[in-house]
C-alpha cells in the first residue's frame, strides 16, 4: 500500500522534471520544424498557436488540463494531432517487445546461471560467465545491425525492420534481451551459489534426492527471489533499451514516439511518453510484489 501511495509522487515528480528539462533544452517545436529554411513563415503566430508563449509551468498546466479532458494534443503546429491514439497504437508494440525480450533473457539466463553455479569453477562456469560479460558489453546499436546483417541479409531468414509479421519480433527481442540475459545469468549464478551453501540443500542431498531435483526444486526455488527483484528493477532499463532497439528496427513503439517527440521538441508528446514510462515502472514494481507472494510463502504470511 505504501508503494501505491508513492505512485502519484513519482508521477508528479517525473512530469515536473521533464517539463523543466524541456524548458532548459534550447530550440522549440517551431524552430526544429523549420530548420534552415522558409524565410517568410510567421513563426511567432505558430508559437502562440500551440501555447509556447507561456512559461514552462503554464505549459505543464495546459498539458494536465488537456490530459484530464482526454483531449491531449501534440505541441506541433498547425494540426496538433491527438496524442492518446498514438500512444494506444505504440504501447502494445513496446509491451510486446519488452516482454519478448524478457522471455529471451529468462530463457538464456536461467539455464546458463544454474549451469554455471552447479559446476562452479569448471570450464562450463567460465564459458557461461564469459558469454555473460560479452552480452553486457555489446551495445544495442551495434548488436542490432550485426544481427540484421547476419540473419536478414546474409542468411536471408528474417526481415530487416518494421512490424508487419511475427517474424519481425525475433531480432529486436534478441537485441534487447541479450544485455539483460547477461546480467540476469550472473545474478542467477550468485543467488544459486548462496542457496547451494544452505544446510537444507545438504540435507536434501543427504536424503538421497536426485541432483536435478535438489538443484531445481529445492535450491532454485529459493534462489528465485533475488532474480525476480532484479527482473523488476531491470524492467526500467529494458524500457530505456527499447528506445535504441526500436530505432534500429523501425519498431513503431513508445521509444520511437519518444525519439520523434524529442527530435521535434514536441513537448506534450515527450511528457505523455514519460508519463506512460513512469506508470509502467510503478505498475511493474507492484507486479513484482505480487509475484513475491506467489513464489515465497513467507512473504504471503506476513
Amino acid at each position: 500500500m505504501r508503494r501505491l501511495a508513492g505512485a502519484p509522487l513519482a508521477i508528479a515528480g517525473s512530469l515536473i522534471l521533464v517539463s523543466l528539462f524541456l524548458n532548459l533544452v534550447p530550440g522549440d517545436p517551431v524552430e526544429m520544424m523549420l530548420g534552415e529554411q522558409a524565410p517568410s513563415v510567421d513563426r511567432e503566430a505558430l508559437r502562440r498557436s500551440v501555447g509556447l508563449d507561456r512559461p514552462w509551468y503554464g505549459q505543464l498546466w495546459l498539458f494536465i488540463r488537456e490530459l484530464a479532458t482526454g483531449n491531449l494534443r501534440s505541441s506541433l503546429p498547425p494540426f496538433q494531432r491527438k496524442i492518446l491514439p498514438q500512444i494506444w497504437a505504440a504501447l502494445p508494440n513496446t509491451l510486446l517487445l519488452t516482454f519478448a525480450a524478457m522471455a529471451v533473457a529468462i530463457l538464456i539466463a536461467i539455464p546458463l546461471g544454474v549451469a554455471a553455479a552447479s559446476r562452479k569453477g569448471t570450464a562450463v562456469d567460465h564459458a557461461a560467465m564469459g558469454i555473460a560479460v560479452a552480452g553486457v558489453a555489446l551495445p544495442r546499436f551495434w548488436l542490432g545491425p550485426m544481427l540484421i546483417i547476419l540473419f536478414a541479409i546474409k542468411l536471408d531468414w528474417l526481415p530487416v525492420s518494421g512490424a508487419d509479421s511475427p517474424r519481425n519480433l525475433i531480432l529486436p527481442s534478441v537485441t534487447l534481451g541479450t544485455a539483460l540475459a547477461a546480467f540476469l545469468s550472473r545474478i542467477t549464478r550468485a543467488s544459486m551459489l548462496d542457496t547451494l551453501r544452505e544446510e537444507y540443500v545438504t540435507v536434501s542431498r543427504a536424503k538421497g534426492l536426485s541432483p536435478s531435483a535438489v538443484l531445481w526444486k529445492h535450491a532454485f526455488r529459493n534462489a528465485l527471489l533475488p532474480i525476480i527483484t532484479v527482473l523488476g528493477l531491470e524492467f526500467g532499463a529494458l524500457l530505456g533499451g527499447a528506445i535504441v532497439t526500436e530505432k534500429v528496427f523501425a519498431w513503431p513503439g513508445m521509444g520511437t514516439l519518444l525519439l520523434t517527440g524529442i527530435e521535434k521538441r514536441d513537448y506534450n508528446l515527450v511528457r505523455a511518453v514519460v508519463l506512460v514510462f513512469t506508470l509502467s515502472y510503478v505498475a511493474i514494481n507492484g507486479l513484482t510484489d505480487l509475484v513475491y507472494t506467489a513464489v515465497d510463502p513467507r512473504v504471503r504470511r506476513q
Binding site: M33, Q37, A38, F79, P159
Partner: protein, 527 residues
C-alpha cells in the same frame, strides 16, 4: 505466437511484392503543402497536389499545372491553365479553384504558416475558366517562386475543410492519397487523370525508417526501392555489395544516381565584432582552407566546390573569383592584422611587423554533434592550424547549436542551407541584407545571422525583387561579387541529394533539389 518459419529457408515473401517502396527519415508533418514545413512533408505533398509552377534543374520556375504564364505588367501576372485538369475526386480543376486556393491561403482563418509568402499579392481574378490573374501590391519578381503552393479543390480551400485536406489530401497530382495506416506508412496510388499520363508505378509505399544503418540494410535486403538524400556519403561503401550486382543476372541491384546539388555548405563568420570583423582575417581563413581533399575523401565526389550561395547550374549563377588555398597569403594577411603565424611558414614573418608583440589567433568553431560534420570540422581545424590559427571545435546538440547560431552567439559555425532553400535567388536578400539581421524584435525571422552590413548590397538585392528576369541576373551577379569580396560566409561546397535506386525502379531521373516528383515518369520493372 512466434512462428519459426524463420528457420525454414524459402518462406520469405519479399521478392514478389508489387509497387515501389520509398524510405524517408522522419514522418511528414502534413501532406498538405499549404502547411507542410518538413522536407519529407513537402516532397510527398508535391506528388499529391502540385501547384501552378515548379522548378526545373536550373531552379527556374516552369509551368506545372499551368500551361504558361507571363507578366502583363510589373504588377500583373497572368496564368493559363492546362486543358482538362482534374482532381483525384473527378471534379475538374478550373481557375475558380486556383482563385479559391489563394483566397483561402491569404485568409488568416486558415492559419497557413506560408500565408506570409503571399503578402505582396493584392487580389486574384479568374476572368475565364483557364485564365488567372495575380494583381500585386508592388512589383515583386520572387512571387513566381511562391506559386508552387498546391492547388486544392475550392471546397477544400478554406479553414472549415483544412483538417479534411490534411487527413486525406486531394489534388491534381500524379499520385492520389490512398491510406495512412499509421504514422510510419503512407500509401499512394497512381492517378489516371494526371495531365502527364497515369504513372507506371502500381503502388507507392512511403515508409519512415529513422535509423540510417537500417535504411541501408533495407536497401541491401531488396525491400526498399528509393532513398533520396537520406544516406550520408561515408556509408556509401557499404552499398557496394548491392551496387556490384547480382551474380546471376549481372545487373546491379542498387544504383546511385545524382545530379550536381544545390544544398549549400558554408562557414558563417561573425562580422559584428571580434577578430572576424576584420576582413583581412576573414580572407586569411578563406585562403587557409582547402575543400578539395574533403570533397574527395569525405563526399566521394557527391559535392562540388562552391564559389557562392548559388550553384553553377542555377539560372542566376555568376562566377566569382573566390579564394584558393594560399598559405603564404593567409599568413601575410594575418600578420598585417597583427597576429602571429607561428604554425605557418616561418621565414619572412619576423620582418612582417617587427617590434610588435604578436598574438596567436584563437577561434571557436561550432558544429552540430553529427559525426560526419564533426569529422569535417576536424579537417578545418588542421588546415587552419597550418596557417597558425588555433581553432577550438565545439560540437553541440542540434537545438543548442542552432539556437546559438540564431542568436549570433558564435565566432565560426558550419552549416548547410538545404536544397529547397537555394532555389529562389531572393534567398540572398534574406541571408545578407542588413534589414534581416536578427534583433530583439525579429530574432527568429532574420536570417542574416553573421550580422553583415553593406548598403550597396542591400540596394542591389532590393532592386532585384522588382525587375524582370534578365535584369535580375545582372543584379545578382553584382551582388554575388560583392559578397565574394566581403566574405560574410566562406563558401564551401554544394551537396548533392544522391538517390539510391533499386533495380525495380527504372527511368528515375533525380533532380538537383531532391524531389520525389520524378517518380511520376519512372517505371516499375516487371518482377
Amino acid at each position: 505466437m512466434l512462428t519459426f518459419c524463420a528457420l525454414l529457408a524459402g518462406c520469405h515473401s519479399e521478392h514478389n511484392r508489387t509497387g515501389i517502396v520509398v524510405l524517408i527519415e522522419s514522418p511528414p508533418d502534413s501532406l498538405d503543402n499549404r502547411f507542410a514545413l518538413t522536407t519529407s512533408g513537402q516532397r510527398i505533398a508535391e506528388l499529391i497536389s502540385p501547384g501552378l509552377v515548379t522548378f526545373d534543374e536550373k531552379s527556374r520556375p516552369v509551368p506545372d499545372l499551368a500551361l504558361d504564364y507571363q507578366f502583363l505588367g510589373p504588377q500583373t501576372l497572368e496564368f493559363t491553365l492546362r486543358d482538362h485538369l482534374t482532381f483525384h475526386d473527378g471534379t475538374p480543376l478550373t481557375s475558380e479553384d486556383v482563385k479559391a486556393t489563394f483566397d483561402g491561403l491569404m485568409d488568416r482563418a486558415l492559419g497557413s504558416p506560408k500565408a506570409g509568402k503571399l503578402e505582396p499579392v493584392d487580389r486574384i481574378e479568374a476572368p475565364g475558366p483557364s485564365r488567372v490573374l495575380f494583381h500585386l501590391k508592388r512589383p515583386y519578381a520572387p512571387i513566381l517562386g511562391e506559386l508552387v503552393l498546391p492547388i486544392v479543390p475550392r471546397s477544400r480551400a478554406f479553414a472549415s475543410a483544412a483538417l479534411a485536406q490534411d487527413r486525406a489530401p486531394i489534388g491534381a497530382g500524379p499520385f492520389r492519397f490512398s491510406a495512412q495506416p499509421d504514422e510510419e506508412h503512407i500509401v499512394l496510388t497512381p492517378f489516371e487523370g494526371y495531365y502527364g499520363g497515369k504513372p507506371r508505378i502500381r503502388r507507392l509505399l512511403i515508409r519512415t525508417v529513422r535509423d540510417e544503418t537500417t535504411r541501408v540494410l533495407e536497401l541491401l535486403k531488396g525491400r526498399a526501392d528509393l532513398v533520396i538524400g537520406a544516406v550520408s556519403p561515408p556509408i556509401f561503401p557499404a552499398l557496394h555489395a548491392g551496387v556490384r550486382g547480382d551474380m546471376r543476372t549481372d545487373e546491379p541491384r542498387l544504383r546511385i544516381l545524382w545530379e550536381p546539388g544545390s544544398a549549400y555548405a558554408y562557414l558563417g563568420l561573425n562580422s559584428r565584432s571580434g577578430p572576424l570583423s576584420d576582413l583581412r582575417i576573414r580572407r586569411a581563413i578563406c585562403h587557409a582552407l582547402d575543400v578539395q581533399p574533403i570533397l574527395k575523401a569525405k563526399f566521394r565526389g557527391l559535392a562540388q566546390p562552391a564559389t557562392g550561395m548559388l550553384p553553377p547550374g542555377h539560372w542566376a549563377y555568376a562566377e566569382t573569383p573566390g579564394c584558393r588555398r594560399d598559405l603564404a597569403l593567409a599568413t601575410k594577411l594575418l600578420a598585417e592584422a597583427g597576429y602571429s603565424t607561428a604554425g605557418g611558414e616561418r621565414e619572412g614573418l619576423k620582418e612582417a611587423s617587427p617590434g610588435r608583440a604578436k598574438r596567436t589567433l584563437h577561434l571557436t568553431l561550432k558544429t552540430s554533434t553529427d559525426r560526419f560534420r564533426k569529422s569535417i570540422a576536424l579537417v578545418f581545424q588542421e588546415q587552419l592550424a597550418e596557417a597558425g590559427i588555433d581553432v577550438e571545435i565545439r560540437s553541440l546538440e542540434y537545438g543548442t547549436f542552432f539556437n546559438d547560431v540564431r542568436k549570433g552567439n558564435f565566432e565560426l559555425f558550419s552549416l548547410v542551407w538545404s536544397a529547397g532553400s537555394v532555389i529562389e535567388p531572393d534567398i540572398l536578400r534574406w541571408v545578407f541584407s542588413s534589414a534581416n539581421i536578427p534583433g530583439p524584435e525579429n530574432a527568429f525571422a532574420g536570417l542574416n545571422r553573421t550580422g553583415y552590413r553593406n548598403g550597396r548590397l542591400d540596394a542591389l538585392l532590393d532592386r532585384a525583387t522588382r525587375v524582370g528576369q534578365d535584369e535580375r541576373k545582372v543584379l545578382y551577379a553584382q551582388a554575388l561579387a560583392l559578397i565574394d569580396s566581403d566574405l560574410p560566409y566562406i563558401p564551401l561546397w554544394h551537396e548533392s541529394s544522391p538517390a539510391i535506386v533499386s533495380w525495380r525502379l527504372q527511368d528515375f531521373e533525380p533532380s538537383p533539389q531532391g524531389y520525389l516528383r520524378p517518380l511520376a515518369r519512372a517505371r516499375e520493372a516487371a518482377p
